[in-house]
């Protein structure tokens, strides 16, 4: 039987890959594909910053699954540019959170 607490990473891996494919397929132009992957990079940078002192591997794999799904589904735009923009976004997001420029709102 599927045990969520043991297999959550695999589940999110598949789900986010499918989400990545669907988002990439829905993007109507190359510019929007680039903007979305850049913002996804910033979100990923935040996640990695949040988990910097905890176990990171499952989160890395989940993030990579999204990028793989996005690369599979993308129709407009270059795949190399997409990878580059994602990495730039992730590094930028991490640095902005580290320097305190971007902050999480606590509700």
């Amino acid at each position: 039987m599927f045990e969520f607490h043991r297999n959550w990473m695999e589940l999110f891996f598949v789900v986010l890959m499918i989400v990545g494919v669907l988002i990439a397929l829905a993007a109507p132009s190359a510019a929007i594909s680039y903007v979305i992957i850049f913002l996804a990079g910033i979100f990923s940078g935040r996640l990695i910053y949040e988990k910097r002192s905890k176990i990171q591997l499952p989160y890395f794999l989940i993030i990579i699954s999204f990028v793989i799904g996005y690369l599979i589904g993308v129709y407009y735009g270059s795949r190399r540019v997409i990878i580059a923009l994602f990495v730039v976004g992730a590094v930028l997001g991490y640095k902005l959170y580290e320097k305190g420029v971007l902050k999480d709102t606590r509700f």
């Binding site: 829905a26 993007a27 109507p28 929007i32 903007v35 979305i36 913002l39 709102t105 606590r106 509700f107």
Partner: protein, 256 residues
Amino acid sequence: MAEILDLADKIKRYYKFTQSELRGLIIAILIIAFVFSYDDWGPGNTFVFSAGIYNFFNAVLIVALSVLIHDAGQRIWALAIGYRLEFRMWGFGLIISLIVAFLNNGRIPYLWIIVPGGFMLHHLAGHRLGWFRYGINYFGQAMVALAGPLSIFMLIILLRVLSLFSSNPLLGKAIIFNVIYMIINLLPIPPLDGSKIYFGSRMLYAFAVPAMIIAIILVVVNVPIFLSLIISLLIAVVLWLTYYISFERNAWFGPK
């Protein structure tokens, strides 16, 4: 009478927006209005700037009315039970709503992710004297959160009544917008109101959410308002009992 005077005094003293709240509200209203009017920048795929600006202005009015009424309901209820509410814009939520608008590009109608933000409660020490649970607690927070969708619910009923006397298409748009705003706000995703209700009291969530959603659907499909309230309450009671018997009772007492 004393309670009403006390509430009026609290409103006079504490019903103010801080600079960051005002900034957050303005940004949230403008972004949501843009998302709301995304398909109205000209007929079909043509872009007409003047028509777009006109529709955007209308959208700003509708969104501002809805967001401010939602906020006012929560703010007044929070003051009534001795808390001060602070609105907080949800930046990531607004970015997600923009992304969804761009991706959708008008293909699926009414696919608006309307998530302006959440709220934080501050304890008004003197005004909580005598309350059973003196500090900020989850149930109090749930009640404050519930006041937001309830005020939107009342706004929808008001707009529905107005639409019987006027055939202005803006009223129809405002009703659809508010229905989606209310339903999205009731989802149990932090920092939306639904999450605060859910974590405050699952039983309250199991009752209030079906009641409001069913009532609003019935009101929108032209069932008389009083009848739709009665039907929704009956269905909500049945769902609430089903939820209690099938899950909550076991969760309270544990497995046999």
